[in-house]
Amino acid sequence: MPLSRLKHMKKTTRSNLITFAIVIVFYLVVQILSGAGVTSRSFEGQLVPICAYVMLAISLNLTVGFLGELSLGHAGFMSVGAFSGVLLWTVLGDSVPVYVALPLAFIVGGVVAGIFGVIVGVPVLRLSGDYLAIVTLAFGEIIKNIINACYLGIDENGLHFSMTDATSLGMEPDGKMLINGAMGITGIQKASTFTIGIVLVLITLIVILNMINSRTGRAVMAIRDNEIAAQSVGINLTRYKLTAFVMSAVFAGFAGVLYGLNYSSLVASRFDYNTSIQILVFVVLGGIGSIRGSIIAAALLTVLPEVLRGLQDYRMLIYAIVLIVVMIFNQSPQIVAWRKRIVARFTGKKDEKKGVA
């Protein structure tokens, strides 16, 4: 009996299944509504970005909630993933069938983002403290500046690269610009669809949830909870910190490719500090360490500003306030104690926190 099995399942397994169900139900409902012609054009335009942001929020939560480190450069990993994946997609063009080119674009985007994760993570993750936040923030800004100054073109003589301007590439007149500095990549053959997005969200969920509920995930959480004790039971700190951090970067890269292939042009300034903060807000508002919360927060906060156009100007201001208020409300010992008293007064019993993920 499937139902009685559901009852006897471990709490985390059951919780994970509910998370999967939410994503699938969301997909089906949207498909039915759009089939019935009820959904608006602007909402449909948001579907792929929603999937990308959900992936970003889940992957950032791996770093913040499970590794216990802060990354402020998630948009940077998204950016390198987007540019490398979309670049490959443009170069391959029609010479390769779509079902080969598209997976390749995603794989390259993820791998490149992962490589940058290693470059940032290896020197910084050995240290405890707030260094990762600073270095990832710097990474995001530097990547943006460098890509903005990149000029890449192709003609019959091969690839041309410059960091000054387009003319210094010295290309043949029939050559094609691939990356045009601050104008980025243009003329992209759009390839992302809502279905691809949902498939990627499900892959992200399977990989990250399975990782968390495995030996690797336990090691990562043990390090988060107590580094000294984790070492004392024989866990290699750097190795597991790096595993989680790089995995987080890889999925940001996938999300970047998904996002990049949804538009006809791609510019680096799309992936700035504001984007990193926005992803952090999804994680914080959804609950640090709660994958399901990240999904819901990312989806809602991506759709809401579209609905409440009047608040557009204040959106980032509200995000800033959300970060401060949620932290103080959830983490201040005095306020947590006060909340417990209030809860106790109304329910007559002690407030017990639920398990996460």
Binding site: E141, A320, I324
Partner: protein
């Protein structure tokens, strides 16, 4: 000669970093937190001067003092409202709150004064100082550079004397060494931390005035990058150390300016952060920092 000119403007930029780094390093040493919003306090302070001096024609010195007062109030308020409730909370929570505060200041500035950069009128030329011309005009040192370097040295000496020779200074040292023990010895820990924020924020106002006088564009994100670089300078010199902040700041300013001049403008930021990574790998305690033993 050109090299010398790059070097001097590097030292001047580095002096600004040093002043900002002082705020980071003192707060980090005493409250054990990374005050992300420090760079944005600089920005707010610069807007105060921009309006007081630039728009209303207030005396340049008075407008800097006004800016120091505003920043001090702002810094202490932020500490009281946003950071103090989280004093016993996990460091990740404090860090995220600090980022929230930083972002809040930027967004408020953007709503009040728009994202368009404003051109800042140098307070140094406002006082009437002229650039120094040497070697028959082969080398010109801007008045801003001279004032910045002198101001930085004076502040550094004064602050060192304050910490080492006054009662509140000793309280700061005690709290940074062991907060619990300091409390037991009758040190007012909350007061000392508030004082630290006050001093750091007042210095941020000075740093803002000097920074914007040398690099006269002001926008809501003006403080962000110099703030982060100043943190790099603080780590470079050894976090928690006042002379370290000075040394780290000046070195970082010189490195940045020389790499801008001789390597690449686009890559100069990357080079600055490469310095941070090299320091973290080779000597995580920084040039003048001391090793902190975790109690097991």
């Amino acid at each position: 000669m050109q090299f010398l000119s790059y070097l001097i403007s590097g030292i001047s930029l580095g002096s600004v970093y040093a002043l900002i780094a002082l705020g980071y390093t003192m707060v980090y040493g005493i409250a054990k937190m990374l005050n992300f919003a420090h760079g944005d306090i600089i920005m707010i302070g610069s807007y105060v001067i921009f309006f007081a001096f630039g728009s209303f024609g207030m005396n340049p010195i008075l407008s800097v003092i006004l800016s120091m007062v505003v920043c001090t109030i702002l810094g202490v308020t932020i500490e009281r409202v946003a950071y103090r409730p989280l004093r016993e909370a996990p460091s990740l929570a404090v860090l995220i709150t600090a980022i929230g505060v930083s972002y809040l200041l930027q967004q408020v500035a953007q709503l009040l004064w728009s994202a368009n950069p404003k051109s800042f009128q140098s307070i140094v030329t406002g006082i009437g100082l002229k650039p120094l011309v040497l070697f028959d005009g082969q080398l010109t040192i801007s008045a801003e550079a001279i004032v910045t370097i002198i101001a930085c040295v004076i502040i550094m000496v004064a602050l060192t004397a304050f910490v080492n020779h006054t009662v509140p200074g000793h309280a700061m040292l005690a709290v940074s060494e062991d907060r619990g023990a300091a409390q037991l010895m009758g040190v007012n820990v909350n007061g000392t931390i508030a004082l630290t924020f006050a001093i750091g924020s007042a210095l941020a106002a000075v740093a803002g005035a000097l920074l914007c006088s040398s690099y006269p564009t002001l926008s809501p994100t003006t403080g962000a990058m110099p703030g982060i670089k100043a943190f790099v300078a603080a780590v470079f010199g050894g976090i928690g150390s006042i002379p370290g902040a000075f040394l780290g700041g000046v070195l970082l300013g010189v490195i940045e300016n020389l790499s801008k001049a001789y390597i690449s403008t686009q890559l100069s930021d990357a080079i600055v952060f490469l310095v941070l990574i090299v320091v973290l790998v080779v000597k995580p305690t920084g040039l003048l920092g001391k090793k902190i033993n975790v109690k097991v």
